[in-house]
Assembly symmetry: D2
Homo-oligomer: 312 residues x 4
């Protein structure tokens, strides 16, 4: 098996020369300003090492990757009760689709499409002020990453609030079916701020270590729940490209519209990659490729070793 | 970690006493006659051992589990060309839904929903007689299982042909979009017969060994393709309950309306279970539970060890 | 042909004894308090006569019937430009469905489903304060009815605003597609107040006279536009029961969730009926029946005379 | 009011020079050969006069216009029982859509979309041979038109049978829900042949006279049923352009993919127009315009007189 650092270096070098970088999300004005040429990647290992290449210390907007952390908090706090509010099936639709909400009476398919993540945030907001909840989310992420230098970019949050009509439609729709506890604006306030958390690849990779269930990693949640979050990342983590990501990479992952992807190698490693340009499904174009190569190089697919590696 | 045989025995004993066995599929008249009290389970290991409990030597109709074998044949013969005919995303719809076919111009979402499996069979039928193709499928399955005593139940195939109007609708619809090479009746003839293959749990578990990529198992297909078939089994193997199966079991699997499930533990084992009663999504009710318990007992989830086992 | 007053008297007498009155809308709390036993009907003729029976002078909440008046104002002000914002096809869906909005990029099917009516109100609100627009709508309705004693029930408007999450979802969704000029809250404020106009059957029948195009009636709009509004009332006036209303009654009509229906007999008469109980599609149950009988008695169907009347 | 013949002459003259004629249907090979430059129009009056212009004596394939005649036969034979098999609401979808069939368990929305017309043909075929039914349909049409020289073009019927996979999908789908009495192939055989009836504009206009309910016209059906067929023509006669046809023309009409339209002026006239080129919704492009102009010239809209005519 090749050396991780070698693989990261080769990947970062190749990506630097690529012209087909996808398109930076333009519907959130603040995000549209990010330099599309950025590329960073980092691997956190249970033994505390963090290997990296490229722009791996530059913070970026984690956006929907935050849904993994709020789902973790919600399962820790509400347990299986959460599943009365949201399902755990792939939607087969775009991340912001409202179709199934109408067919299924306001219950979102899974916690990783927008409607589902809003429902999760709403569930843990209940009875608190958005500020308190955001404090809790930050504490969770900082503890997971072992790093207190993780913050919310309020300009990004405001930018989303001003243009977040689609998310307001989703929240109001759920509210009309009784599947939102708080006023839509309040829940969305918390939601937009959670999405505006900024982390570097190194921080994000470290923050994902608890999802590997490996010995020596922080225990933020019981192992059964960790395993299940991984399952949902595998089947639903990339919206209507989740099947393709599983097919190509073979690992649980969660992407964000800021161009980041968090990917878990159960028992072994946590990987974060960042490249702002997105493909048609709204997932980082080069980020997806980079993780595909890394997983192939290392034989990390959970579905069996690839051609370049022996079964362990 | 507990002993596999112990776990199988306890599971089979518990299942024997269960009253809530789901409902036997009644839309295929021949299948409706099966005794709902049957339960069998078998685990095939790379070292050639097969452990089992219950009715593990009784043949049953594998139905949609056959889609795994025809997909393997199709990938072996056509390679990635196949993906021009069928996608690899979860559909988020029932196994026999026609909705997405209309929205997506006759290209099925994945090879495991009915429309997709019909397209796969059509692709490998091209230029052959159904009889030849069925011969090839049987040869493939027999070679994989190392057992020549595997046959098609022609009464079941005829029974499906007579009542298969929904599948005729799917095939004709694809034909109208140019996504069917052969006449619908011809492709369906082959499809219904492939579904009517009968195998016991022991035979099926053995036939699945090539999907574990473990050393010493038959090499029916390159390791990359095996890995990818597993990925599709994980995200699409249980129709609109695929997310739930991944969540509960954490393993790639494929169910059939005859009450069977084939489940792969990459690198380690191939599991077959059979209980004819189905849950609402059309998957074996006790079969799903049995595999959930076995995977939990053995710490087999690909997403990390469960609470009762240590990470390996 | 029978006498109109005779027919009205017999209908009102029969309806008084009916037990199957449908269900009063309960999703708008203020409306839920209305006495379900009320029934009123009125016919306004071009010669200024108004015939009536039952509770024909009691004001009720006209709700969606207001959409006819705002469409008239919008066509008068914007002309055919309006059709870039909204279609004129039956939706085949419920009055508050959001499905087609997603499939059709935020452009509602017609001006009489909720989304379409919100778009129309938004179009004529542009550049004005809600108060100004509501003043204009009231002036239009009062002029059409020749009666200044027509008002908005602000308690009903507030009641809708507090519970109007579904409409907020529709408006926000259109906003996200750029098909809403004003902030959703502003447009909805105007929309909820326009729906809260109260009129009696006699007032409403008179207000509809301009839609008959009959000589001697107020000219609120050019005859071509009047004709076209009638066409839309015929094909879209009763949501997903529009076909059935055309089939049974044979006249252009528009229903409201307050239990009112305005029905136009081109060239001849304007009819208003009110009975608060609704059928499954959200249209007045006895109101629909009453108009069906009246139209049949008088041979008023635009599709040819019925069995009890001679062709004119 | 202008003279009918004058209007027809001017319309035919204008249409002769038009370049934007739409596209001739190419999915039925036999129809694709028709000369796109053809244009015919005819008006049949209750006093037995037939006025016409252009290619009004050339027979063309009436295709879906036949659905009006089979609906008439079905209502005559089965009465309101028919409505258990098919609805009478606009579908809001394309003529050959299968979406609603799945959502609504195999019951088509109305008798004029393909699925609905197949269900109607199936209902009247029950217990007969296709040949007998086709004989009955021809007898009905010939009696209505007072002309025995009306025939089926068997080459067209065969052409449709060979390429009718979409219709086979619709029929098989309904069969799977138990909403088809006969084998799909048998019903479709009758359906394709009924669509292959050929008539000239003059014959078709005359055949539609019974739908005017005017004194002196053939009585093929009770006046209530005639009125109701007109209502369905108005709301559903042009598929997902029915609303637009009502808006522009204001008359009940039924189009066919052969480029013909039959349009009824209740109490007054029956109009047939033919121009083979179709618009995007599959309705005759110039035919629609021609009828719009004629109806406007004559003040024939059922929704009130247009600007160029006085109310009658």
């Amino acid at each position: 098996m090749p050396d991780i650092q070698d693989s990261l270096d080769r990947i970062a070098a190749d990506m630097a020369g690529r012209m087909d970088r996808g398109e930076v999300a333009h519907y959130i004005p603040e995000l549209a300003r990010v330099d599309p040429a950025r590329f960073g990647i980092a691997v956190a290992l249970p033994d505390d090492r963090v290997l990296s290449a490229g722009d791996s210390t530059l913070p970026f907007s984690i956006q929907s990757i935050s849904k993994v952390f709020t789902l973790s908090i919600a399962l820790g706090r509400l347990g299986d009760q959460l599943w009365s509010r949201v399902g755990r099936e792939p939607s087969g639709q775009a991340f912001n689709s409202i179709l199934q909400l109408e067919h299924e009476k306001g219950r979102p398919r899974n916690p990783f499409i927008n409607a589902g993540a809003i429902a999760v945030t709403d569930a843990i907001l209940a009875g608190h002020q958005p500020k308190e909840l955001l404090g809790e989310i930050l504490r969770f992420v900082r503890a997971a990453a072992g790093d207190d230098d993780i913050h919310i970019n309020h300009a990004v949050a405001r930018s989303e609030t001003a243009t977040g009509h689609r998310n307001l439609a989703l929240a109001s729709f759920m509210k009309s079916y009784g599947n939102l506890i708080n006023p839509p604006e309040l829940t969305l306030g918390a939601y937009f701020h959670q999405c505006a958390i900024e982390m570097s690849c190194q921080q994000l990779a470290r923050a994902g270590l608890y999802l590997t269930s490996a010995a020596g990693t922080p225990r933020m949640l019981g192992p059964d729940r960790v395993r299940r979050i991984n399952a949902i990342m595998m089947t639903c983590g990339h919206y209507d490209a989740s099947g393709d990501f599983a097919f190509r990479v073979g690992l649980p992952g969660k992407s964000g519209v800021g161009g980041g992807i968090l990917c878990i190698v159960p028992g072994k490693a946590s990987v974060a990659v960042w490249s702002p340009g997105l493909n048609k499904q709204g997932n980082s174009q080069l980020g997806t490729e980079a993780i595909e190569r890394l997983a192939s190089d290392m034989g990390w697919s959970v579905f069996g070793a690839s051609h370049t590696a022996n079964p362990d």
